[in-house]
């Protein structure tokens, strides 16, 4: 009996599910990713601004600065506003941090390494992305503060303007590969990455992605100069840390989705086929592509001012949605006249 239980535990510890839960894309990955990417963002942005960035904590280039900040946030008291709706106030950041991690379950890290293999993987990712904006709205309303309320209202507008082109632009990819299954989409790119066949769609997807993850130039809901800190104004301590965590997980999910749809996902040559398992090589490739995406997003933060909400709406409704539709039509024509381009 003991032996059986032991075998069960050992079997679980060495199984793929355990590795997926605790390593990629599980706890270790999201934890390390946020710690490193926050440090990397501060460091790279500092170099763009001709500064040093974190320098002292952790001996080498301040690499432990994020960890120190997280610890500091953990030990801080969080004070809810007196007239706040407490349940919403406490729960919104918790869910804001945890919901985007679900999007990672749909992303294939190798042909077989996928937490929830499904024929509609892309739709699952979109469903999760569509869920996240509700939480800031709840938070903004629950804080009972004018700044947070305006921040929450802005999120509604921003997400409606950003999500539709995000969905429409991916339609071209689906048509080319003939599947909603992300593994099939990646495999369809074995000849050309879709960014080469769909530059317009990739651009629209990229811009609306920035709007969805609320980064500069579309960090309108948290505009510091107008709204103090938007819907997060009242949060302190680890609740604030969780909102930041959720933001960076959204960033990771967005970059992974972009790499999967347009940059060939996990596809890439394995330098030592006998030596390195093909799963690891695939993971390394998709993580590398994600790192490039994150770098681009960070440099964009250093190169542009923030737009206004009406300008974002103009951009979304008058430019991105028509462009996404044009892209769909162009893809149809492409498939009709050159049927060999698609992977299907």
């Amino acid at each position: 009996m003991m032996q059986q239980i032991w075998d069960l535990i050992l079997g679980f510890l060495t199984s793929k599910y355990f590795l997926q839960l605790f390593f990629i894309p599980g706890i270790a990955f999201i934890g390390l990713f946020t710690l490193i990417v926050v440090w990397f963002e501060r460091k790279l942005l500092a170099r763009v601004m001709l500064r040093y960035g974190p320098l002292h904590v952790g001996r080498v280039a301040g690499i432990l600065q994020t960890l120190a900040d997280t610890l500091k946030l953990l030990f801080k008291e969080f004070i809810p506003p007196r007239k706040a709706y407490k349940l919403g106030f406490y729960l919104a950041p918790v869910f804001y941090a945890s919901v985007p991690t679900l999007a990672l379950t749909a992303i294939p890290f190798s042909p077989t390494w996928i937490v929830y293999p499904s024929d509609v993987g892309l739709l699952i990712a979109y469903a999760v992305i569509a869920c996240t904006p509700i939480l800031p709205i709840i938070a903004g309303w629950a804080c009972n503060n004018r700044y947070t309320m305006i921040g929450g209202l802005r999120i509604i507008f921003q997400d409606v303007a950003g999500e539709i082109p995000l969905l429409l632009s991916a339609l071209g990819v689906v048509m080319l590969s003939g599947s909603f299954n992300l593994v099939n989409i990646v495999n369809a790119q074995s000849r050309y990455w879709f960014i080469l066949l769909q530059p317009l769609g990739a651009l629209v997807f990229f811009i609306s992605l920035i709007a969805m993850v609320e980064r500069v130039p579309f960090d309108i809901p948290t505009a510091e100069q107008e709204l103090v800190f938007g819907w997060r104004t009242e949060y302190g301590g680890i609740l604030f840390g969780l909102t930041m965590f959720g933001e960076y997980i959204s960033l990771a999910a967005g970059s992974l989705l972009f790499s999967t749809l347009y940059l060939g996902g996990y596809l890439g040559p394995n330098p030592f086929p006998g030596f390195i398992p093909s799963d690891f090589a695939s993971m390394a490739w998709i993580l590398l592509k994600m790192a490039v995406m994150v770098t681009v997003l960070i440099v964009i933060r250093g190169a542009y001012p923030r737009l206004r909400i009406d300008q974002l709406l103009n951009l979304g409704w008058k430019w991105l949605i028509p462009l996404a539709m044009i892209n769909t039509v162009l893809t149809m024509l492409m498939i009709y006249f050159f049927p060999w381009v698609g992977g299907a």
């Binding site: 790279l44 763009v48 001709l50 500064r51 190169a303």
Partner: protein, 156 residues
């Protein structure tokens, strides 16, 4: 067309700055060199002071007060650096050149009272505070294609 240019060019320029020289000086490990006319903490040469009181009258902030030296009747200036704004009118107008300027600006202390320098303390040579590490002296220079930055003196 100019729209595309005006959107892409900032991105390229911002990224190119990653490879430029970092501008920041790592104060207090590196201290930028001070110009020779730097207006730092004021120093008093007691033996040259003629107790005329010009400094007391000229001081716009009433930071200077003439007090008696310890153990003698001679009047010498006492400067409250908490009030002083380092205009150096006292140094400029001192007829005997008893008040002279120094380069030290690191005179912060924890209590206001310690900023009141009686003549004896004013006469001391300025010295770098013990709390801070001994700094490397750097200088702001415009060097080559990597732009301006702080360069260590002697290694320009």
């Amino acid at each position: 067309m100019s729209t595309v240019k005006n959107t892409i060019r900032p991105l390229v320029l911002a990224f190119s700055h990653v490879f430029r020289r970092v501008f920041t000086a790592k104060y207090p490990y590196e201290a930028p060199s001070r110009p020779s006319r730097c207006r730092g903490r004021i120093m008093l040469r007691i033996e040259r002071c003629i107790s005329c009181g010009t400094c007391e009258k000229i001081c716009p902030n009433i930071a200077i007060k003439m007090v008696k030296l310890k153990g003698s009747d001679k009047l010498c200036p006492q400067i409250d650096f908490g009030r002083c704004m380092f205009c150096y009118f006292c140094v400029s107008y001192c007829p005997a050149e008893a008040l002279i300027g120094t380069e030290l600006v690191e005179i912060s202390v924890y209590s206001k009272e310690k900023l009141i320098y009686p003549p004896e303390k004013l006469a001391e040579e300025p010295k770098w505070p013990d709390l801070l590490p001994k700094p490397k002296r750097v200088k702001l220079r415009v060097v080559g294609r990597r732009g301006a930055g702080h360069v260590e003196i002697g290694r320009e």
